[in-house]
Amino acid sequence: MTWSRPLAILFALSLAPAARAANEADYTAAYAAAEAASKEASGLRNQWTVTVSALAAAKKAADGGDFDGAVAAAKEAEALAKASIFQATSEKEAWKAMEIR
């Protein structure tokens, strides 16, 4: 047992970049992606209320200068919008399984 291994790990960690705080450009990109997915869901007549709320939360956080929060909310909105698109697409056929015949 030597000290070389723990020291090597500490050395490596010291070289690793610290998590970078999000900036306005990150937010703009994340919001644009979320908004595009949300518009696609709307076009399918299957928008979710939670997507709209997450988009609003992203905008509010960005307006307050909290770009970390804004990016997180925008990414959540994008994920929700994509889930609603998946639902609308799969339900084009899946609804028939529920039908009373």
Partner: protein, 287 residues
């Protein structure tokens, strides 16, 4: 050799017959047949709840729970929709600024006709609901349309429903491919899951009538519109069919469509048609 040929011929014949039978089934499954759908729909509920009288399904949760039914029957002595009914009667009789009234817009002066709505308008090629027809009547007579989700519309439809109480729902689907498409569209909307909760209308009102969702007892889909509009204690007021659809969508965390969107008109057409023969019971009261 002859045996092999006979075997091959036999196999091909069996395959062809199987294919023909399967194709016929697929075609039959895709054909729009509202009468067969209505029969299957009603039978589903009649068999699921054999103890419920057929005409009682229109009373929603009260048909599913004896205690609630007793409470409701007591409440019916002084029904909470009475104010709306009186207001609706007065509104219906009050002339527009041009001197005409709602009676001029409807067959039989608008009395006892609720059971025929919605109908398929072959000129427009779309479903026309009673709420829509009322607003079109207003606009044709130079009046501003009412909100589809507020009290005025609920009061008017409450009065019109009351004049049809006890009459069997009687929705027609004309021999028009557009009418069949509207019925099919309504059916699809009814069974399609939506919102973050991944619920369809059928999730609650076909799979779970009589079950509780939080404090409420779910109504069966059969006859669910026959008692509309309704006074809901939860809303502390009256609600139209439009309001009911919008609220259901919101509860599944789906963004509601605009009132009287084609999809809502079509689902009203579907739900009303499959309730043909059951009595009009509106206006109703619900918890």
């Amino acid at each position: 050799m002859k045996g092999r040929i006979a075997l091959l011929f036999g196999s091909v014949s069996v395959a062809l017959v199987a294919f023909a039978l399967t194709s016929a089934r697929v075609i039959a499954a895709d054909k729009v047949d509202p009468a067969a759908d209505a029969k299957a729909f009603q039978n589903f509920f009649f068999q699921k709840f054999p103890e419920v009288k057929h005409e009682d399904f229109v009373n929603g949760p009260y048909s599913m729970n004896a205690d609630m039914k007793r409470q409701w029957q007591e409440k019916e002595e002084f029904p909470p929709y009475e104010f709306a009914l009186e207001a609706g009667k007065e509104m219906f009789a009050t002339p527009f600024r041009n001197g005409k009234t709602y009676a001029d817009c409807f067959p039989n002066g608008g009395i006892g006709i609720r059971q025929n709505y919605p109908y398929f308008d072959q000129k427009e090629g779309k479903v026309v609901t009673l709420e829509l027809a009322l607003n079109r009547c207003r606009e044709a007579n130079g009046e501003a349309p009412y909100s589809y989700v507020k009290d005025e519309m609920a009061s008017l439809t409450a009065y019109m429903a009351f004049t049809s109480r006890g009459k069997p729902m009687d929705i027609e689907i004309p021999d028009d491919p557009r009418a069949l498409a509207a019925f099919e569209s309504g059916k699809r909307y009814f069974y399609t899951r939506r919102g973050q909760m991944n619920f369809s209308c059928a999730s609650c009102h076909v799979e779970s009538p009589g079950e509780r969702i939080r404090a409420e007892i779910l109504a069966p889909a059969l006859g669910i519109l026959n008692a509309m509009p309704i006074y809901r204690s939860e809303w502390s007021g009256m609600g139209t069919i439009s309001r009911r659809f919008v609220t259901c969508n919101s509860q599944t965390r789906a963004v509601p469509l605009e009132p009287q969107a084609d999809e809502y008109r079509d689902v009203e057409y579907f739900l009303s048609y499959v309730a043909n023969g059951l009595p009009i019971a509106g206006p109703g009261a619900r918890p």
